[in-house]
């Protein structure tokens, strides 16, 4: 899932080399279930809650989160996906290409939109996502769920739900997959 970040970060086209496993498959599953509980608790149920995965890493997580929400609360939440490439503030600084679909087949006005991403780093993707959401209506609230918060924020953005806080070096990279999370470097 770090494909995209890898393609857009020097050395371009490098290879991710895992150094440490930080979460295994069951850690990841437990984190998603806990976040589901926290979402339900914070919003007193799931009325008006929608889940939006950020392309590409956040989309499978959003799907799993919606599954967990259904298991815990029984309610089916609408799931959307959002590609923020066209909203980034670094277009022209690095190769940015939208590569996956934006699919938000519902009006966001009055809803509570839970943005889901795999890794929170500088916060710039989330800023772009907040910008993008405004074209789909005016949500009552926007919340942010991430599997890994690796620090190094460049913008005043903080997550509402975190799977794991993971202090990293700037040149490291976090890879969230279906079966766990690795910390490594790009070589």
């Amino acid at each position: 899932m770090a494909e995209r970040e890898r393609a857009a970060t020097p050395p371009y086209g490098g290879v991710f080399v895992a150094r440490t496993q930080v979460m295994d498959a069951s850690d990841l599953r437990r984190a998603i279930v806990r976040i589901a509980h926290e979402i339900i608790e914070r919003n007193h149920g799931l009325d008006n809650v929608v889940v939006i995965g950020l392309q590409t890493g956040g989309v499978p997580i959003a799907g799993r989160l919606a599954g967990a929400l259904k298991e815990v609360d029984g309610a089916e939440v609408p799931v959307g996906s959002l590609d923020v490439a066209l909203y980034r503030d670094d277009i022209g600084l690095r190769p940015v290409l939208p590569e996956a679909v934006t699919d938000i087949p519902f009006d966001l006005s009055g809803r509570i939109a839970v943005l889901v991403d795999d890794v929170l780093f500088t916060g710039r993707t989330v800023r772009a996502a907040l910008d993008a959401l405004t074209t789909f209506g005016r949500p009552r609230a926007v919340q942010l769920a991430v599997i890994v918060d690796r620090g190094h924020r460049e913008l005043p953005i903080r997550p509402d739900y975190v799977g794991k806080n993971l202090p990293t070096r700037r040149d490291e990279m976090v890879d969230v997959r279906e079966d766990g999370v690795d910390l490594g470097v790009v070589e």
Partner: protein
């Protein structure tokens, strides 16, 4: 991609990338607010030395949907009337700071010349009877949207091939993507030589229609025809027009395309233009999304050398 001058510069991978990106912009165009900030702060100027409705408006709409600033240049109200040369006009425009120049000119090759003079990206929006690359891209996209792929499709391009830049660009694009192209025209409206063109030629439309997956009708370019190339337009219509009777020869799922503006009653009968398998308005709609993709690739997707920043952000 620095400039888009000719379809000949594009290989299958380039075409695929543009088509894939166009999917994104079709989705953007369908939103309630069809606008993204991707080219905020960039300036796109259209430099049209020939009249145009759809291409100019289509590029302008595309630029606006990407939040670029647009400037319009119409020869009739400009200093060209005072005798300013093309080079001076182009350099004046560049001095104002533009990122993309969209050029249409009655002489073939002008976009290349302009690209040599400026640092800005140049898009060929039609140069004489030579090329019209974005039209070919939107035609490919429209066919792909309807049929999934161009591979193995039989395309008949009918009409005034000699004067058609659309035909030249389409032949290149369609054959690159694996389609089989047949040109159908009276001998006087074919180019003097077709050597090196990857096409077949047939003078009998009735023979071609039943086998065609796509019939692409070209506009009879009366303004470019300076000699008597046809006995009469009525005779042209009788032999090469897609009349209602002739349209019955088409397979049920065959697509009818036209780059516009249509001469209804000449190359295409009014009711044929409105039949369900006619995708002519779809071509126009896709034109905006394809041009968004092209503008984004030229002005947005690639790092600009003169901006220094932290690429990790």
């Amino acid at each position: 991609m620095k400039s888009l001058l000719s379809v000949a510069e594009l290989d299958v991978a380039d075409l695929d990338e543009i088509m894939r990106l166009t999917d994104q912009f079709v989705e953007v165009s369908e939103r309630q607010i069809p606008r993204v900030p991707a080219l905020r702060g960039r300036t796109v100027v259209s430099l049209f030395y020939e009249e145009s409705t759809r291409t100019r408006l289509s590029f302008e709409t595309a630029a606006k949907r990407l939040s670029a600033d647009t400037m319009n240049f119409a020869v009739s109200t400009s200093s060209v009337k005072k005798g300013e040369s093309l080079r001076d006009t182009v350099q004046t425009i560049e001095a104002m700071g533009v990122d993309v120049i969209i050029v249409r000119h009655p002489s073939a090759g002008v976009p290349w010349q302009v690209a040599n003079w400026v640092d800005a990206a140049v898009v060929n929006a039609g140069d004489g009877a030579h090329e019209h690359p974005t039209q070919a891209l939107l035609d490919c996209y429209t066919i792909r949207q309807q049929r999934g792929s161009l591979e193995g499709l039989r395309v008949a391009i009918v009409g005034d091939i000699a004067h058609s830049r659309v035909a030249r660009s389409d032949v290149l694009a369609f054959t690159t993507l694996g389609a089989e192209v047949t040109l159908v025209a009276p001998p006087t409206l074919l180019p003097p030589s077709l050597a090196g063109w990857p096409v077949m030629v047939n003078n009998d439309l009735d023979d071609v229609l039943p086998k065609a997956d796509i019939v692409y009708l070209l506009r009879m370019q009366l303004e470019r025809q300076h000699e008597a190339l046809l006995p009469s337009l009525r005779e042209y219509t009788a032999r090469y027009g897609l009349t209602r009777d002739r349209a019955r020869l088409l397979a049920d799922d065959a697509l009818v395309m036209h780059p516009g503006p249509m001469n209804r009653g000449v190359e295409i009968a009014a009711e044929v233009a409105n039949r369900p398998n006619s995708v002519i308005t779809r071509q126009v709609a896709n034109g905006v999304a394809v041009r968004m993709a092209v503008l984004f690739l030229l002005a947005g997707a690639n790092p600009r050398d003169h901006i220094v920043g932290d690429p990790n952000g």
